[in-house]
């Protein structure tokens, strides 16, 4: 494997224009080479094997494959009518599909490749900073991304800037001919008082070959700033999706994150929120719905570094067929982070005999004046509820699907962006074959 990626890296480096970027990426590649792909021997990867990724040689996409893929640009289009959008196909920016004109004052939305030209100093700083971050040294996939990062979103909101319409980051992928890997790298900074709603969506079409999306997204949320982040992962059924998401929160900032994971053969998200100034508040909501042989892994960590911060986390999972899911939710309260209030809940519904769930909610508490709680449950549908519906003339399969839908929909209720909420509910209804009954389906979706 190493030899192959060494060659890929050399080829890649020849195309890199920025002199300052080369040493950073060389360093990152060296640590990627050093670490190799994680194995299930490592505690953090105990339940998720990346053997299927390690066994293949993923090439970087070229412009040709992207334009071929853009034939299918129906799926690569923005979800909302009036949103701002950056569209990437196989990791390559598509200006013709993107919409970022008429931006309000103080807002920068650029593809990373362009930002490297227009905003070089700031991009350089961001890269230097992330290369000093321990993630790039300790996490193989983050190092891999760092080594090959060339495209992504560069979003900057100046003090009190407000993006009145949602921003969509769309990553559409398709592999044909050869297994491909894209390394989206997103930098999103909200200065104090800024406000942003962003939808990060990953979609794909199943081609002959599997593709891999290895994304890294960094958020910096300044004082009093507000961020609403929606992450919708609907990768192709044979795709791999590995992502790292870092949120740093300043004083009195508010973050609401929704993470919906539906696609990919194997997907893993490592989400870390660091509350590093008092008064910060963080909500994490998640829903994963797996079927067939899917494997979806969610690793979340909320780091309470200072006193007087609050956080809550609700993740729900539905597992069907022979699919597997992993949930790891960590609450860390550092020494002296007094008056922390934090809660976490993970609830799982197993629909099939062959489904496997591994859940691990963690509390690491180093301060005494705190209120922290977590809970995890696993079970199947309540037969008495099924009976109730059947006694009212609803056939058993339908009753089950209805109850499953109710379980899942609850976690979508808190999505403020109604259009998105609606759309996700439709996806669920479709998945649960509840759509045919148009009447009930409609009334449910409303």
């Amino acid at each position: 494997m190493t030899e192959f990626y060494q060659k890929e890296f050399q080829k890649f480096q020849q195309g890199v224009q920025e002199a300052w970027l080369k040493p950073i990426q060389e360093k990152a590649f060296a640590s990627f080479e050093n670490m190799g792909f994680p194995t299930t021997q490592q505690e953090a990867w105990k339940y998720t094997s990346v053997k299927a990724i390690a066994e293949q040689n993923f090439i970087l996409p070229n412009a040709g494959s992207a334009s071929a893929a853009s034939q299918n640009h129906d799926q690569a289009q923005a979800l909302l009518e009036n949103s701002f959008a950056l569209v990437f196909i196989n990791g390559i920016f598509q200006p013709q599909l993107s919409r970022c004109n008429d931006l309000p004052a103080g807002v920068t939305i650029l593809p990373l490749s362009q930002a490297m030209i227009q905003d070089e100093k700031a991009v350089q700083q961001a890269f230097v900073k992330s290369s000093e971050n321990k993630d790039a040294q300790e996490k193989a996939f983050v190092a891999w991304n760092q080594a090959f990062a060339q495209e992504g979103a560069w979003i900057h909101l100046k003090k009190n800037a407000l993006l009145d319409r949602p921003l969509e980051l769309i990553y559409f992928s398709l592999s044909n001919g050869h297994a491909q890997v894209a390394h989206p790298r997103n930098f999103i900074v909200l200065e104090s008082g800024a406000k942003l709603q962003v939808i990060e969506s990953y979609r794909g079409m199943a081609g002959e070959n599997a593709y891999l999306n290895n994304s890294v997204t960094d958020f910096h949320v300044g004082e009093n700033a507000q961020l609403k982040h929606y992450r919708v992962q609907e990768e192709a059924a044979n795709a791999f999706h590995i992502a790292s998401l870092n949120i740093v929160q300043e004083r009195h900032s508010q973050v609401e994150s929704h993470n919906i994971a539906l696609g990919a053969a194997m997907a893993r998200l490592e989400l870390e929120a660091r509350l590093q100034a008092s008064g910060a508040d963080c909500s994490l909501h998640g829903l994963y719905f797996t079927r067939d042989q899917q494997h979806i892994d969610n690793q979340t960590s909320i780091d309470h570094a200072v006193p007087h911060c609050t956080s809550r986390e609700f993740y729900k999972g539905i597992l069907d067929d022979a699919s597997q899911a992993v949930f790891n939710g960590r609450i860390l309260v550092r020494p002296d982070a007094q008056k922390t209030v934090s809660e976490l809940s993970n609830r799982n519904l197993l629909l099939s005999k062959k489904a496997v769930i591994n859940t691990k909610p963690l509390l690491e508490i180093f301060a005494d004046d705190v209120k922290c709680a977590h809970g995890a449950t696993t079970g199947r549908l309540d037969e008495s509820q099924v009976f109730y519906l059947r006694s009212r003339g609803i056939d058993p399969q339908w009753a089950r699907n209805l109850l499953t839908y109710a379980f899942a929909a609850e976690s979508l209720e808190s999505i403020e962006l109604t259009v998105l909420q609606e759309k996700l509910k439709q996806v669920l209804l479709e998945r649960l074959n509840l759509k045919e009954s148009a009447l009930l389906g409609e009334s449910l979706a409303q």
Binding site: S352, K353, A376, T377, T378, G379, R380
Partner: protein, 494 residues
């Protein structure tokens, strides 16, 4: 009532016969003394040492072979590092793996020679003078032995066909039982410390409850004094045959005078059809001084196998001692309809560290498990709950309920919860919840304004916090355990 209890305690403490008495008076000391006394084999670990231990104990060939297999396997293993505790590396070659009991003359002559702080604790726990002497390893004179309660107990047990003796005795007298069950729950390859134990275990307890017998009394190491102080590599094997019931008590609330740094014991429980085992532990070994120097490393492997249908194993533990505690009493729920329970209170103060919890492995159908864990950290200590609930594919209708609560006292301590939940069957129903908080100011205020001192108020609240676990303990133990919590947390707040 109380008087009766005390009386019972007094009698329990008395050794049974001259032979026992002689052993009682002895005091193991595996210390780090350089000169080699007679009957102490050289320090360090090698195949020869394993052979020597086995020979000294006059063991049959199959057991020696088993020890050697364990030793050879141990050589290939690495000391684990994943646990959430920190301690100085142990030099396994500088330990003594076998020492015959020390001579009587070396033991302290009277209570005056015992550390006043330990005596103070004895008094707070309400332990009788005679028992204090025994626990401190003081040479007791023959008069003390006049009433041999122990023998009476033994007779009652023998009538029922219950075998309860030291491990060495069992090897000599019931080799077929030992051979049949030894290592079936904790194989010699299990983990670093269990493997080490398998190679060099010195002694321990063996208990067999025959079919359909309900053991008429709480079996306690109190009664089996000759096997007390079996040292750092203890091995317990407890077999409950079909339809039997036994409640077993291990340890005691009094601080143990013990100079072994490392304790790597192995406990194996086997419950056959319809059998029930209740295993209670109170551990209060030397936790080190207030600066965190010294103290015992308690690395124990405890596991029970609910082998038969409708069997039940229940672990109850109160852990207040040891500098580092690292153990996970577990249940393999192999038989259909079997039940596993785990009730734990772990208290850490000063620089103590505890990484403890349980593993519930659901294998059979309709298996149920309950986990109630209460952790209390004070001072600069760290208390970790680490548990695993695993439901295998064939374990239809498994049910688990886990509750892990932590109480923090002081801003320098830590409380951590690491539950692993692995479900491979959708008929499983499992719930886990955990909370972490401190003693509420309002609760303290409420008590104080009613004239209860702060210390008593804290005691009251802590005892309330642990009530669910303490009520699982046999009665006389429960009273002592309650006092013990107070003693362990002395000076933690205020």
């Amino acid at each position: 009532m109380e008087a009766a209890e005390n009386a019972q305690k007094n009698t329990e403490a008395k050794p049974s016969n001259p032979e026992l008495e002689a052993l009682t008076a002895q005091d193991y000391k595996y210390g780090f003394v350089t000169e080699v006394e007679e009957d102490r084999i050289p320090k360090g670990l090698s195949e020869d040492i394993v052979r020597l231990i086995s020979k000294k104990k006059n063991e049959p060939a199959w057991l020696l072979e088993w020890r050697l297999k364990a030793y050879r396997h141990w050589l290939t293993m690495k000391e684990p590092e994943w646990q959430n505790v920190h301690y100085d590396k142990i030099d396994y070659q500088s330990l003594y793996y076998y020492a015959a009991p020390k001579k009587k003359e070396d033991a302290p002559k009277s209570l005056d020679e015992i550390d006043p702080e330990i005596r103070e604790t004895f008094n707070k726990l309400g332990i009788s003078l005679d028992e204090q002497k025994r626990l401190s390893g003081i040479a007791v004179d023959a008069v003390f032995d006049s009433v041999s309660v122990g023998t009476t107990f033994r007779k009652t047990l023998a009538e029922k066909g219950i075998i309860f003796c030291s491990f060495s005795e069992a090897v000599q007298e019931h080799p077929e039982l030992v051979k049949k069950y030894l290592g079936t729950v904790v194989p010699y390859t299990d983990n670093f410390f269990a493997t080490l134990n398998s190679a060099v275990f010195s002694d321990g307890s063996f208990c067999y409850i025959p079919k359909g017998v309900r053991c008429p009394m709480e079996l306690s190491t109190y009664f089996r004094i000759n096997a007390a102080n079996t040292g750092q590599f203890e091995r317990t094997l407890l077999v409950a045959d079909a339809g039997s019931y036994v409640s077993y008590l291990e340890g005691c609330t009094a601080p143990m005078r013990d100079e072994n740094q490392l304790h790597a014991a192995v406990v194996e429980l086997i419950a056959l059809d319809d059998a029930q085992i209740k295993y209670s532990t109170v551990q209060n070994w030397y936790p080190g001084d207030k600066e965190g120097k010294g103290g015992i490393y308690n690395f124990v492997t405890k596991r029970g196998n609910c082998k038969g249908q409708n069997s039940k194993i229940s672990w109850t533990q109160v852990e207040t001692g040891s500098a580092v505690t690292w153990k996970y009493p577990s249940c393999l729920l192999t038989g259909d309809n079997s039940i596993g329970e785990f009730y734990s209170v772990a208290v850490t103060n000063n620089y103590q560290q505890a990484d403890t919890g349980t593993k519930m492995i659901h294998i059979g159908k309709n298996t149920r498990s309950t986990i109630i864990s209460k952790g209390i950290s004070a001072g600069k200590s760290h208390n970790t709950y680490r548990g695993l609930v695993k439901v295998m594919k064939g374990a239809e209708n498994a049910r688990n309920y886990s509750q892990c609560d932590s109480l923090l006292m002081g801003d320098k301590c830590g409380a951590h919860t690491f539950p692993y939940i692995e479900i491979k069957n959708n008929s499983a129903q499992m719930e886990h919840e955990a909370t972490t908080s401190k003693i509420g100011e309002d609760q303290l205020f409420y008590c104080k304004q009613r004239g209860i001192s702060e210390e008593d108020a804290i005691n009251l609240i802590v005892n309330g916090f642990c009530k669910e676990v303490l009520r699982e303990l046999p009665m006389e133990f429960a009273v002592e355990a309650q006092n013990l919590l107070g003693v362990s947390l002395e000076g933690a707040v205020g």
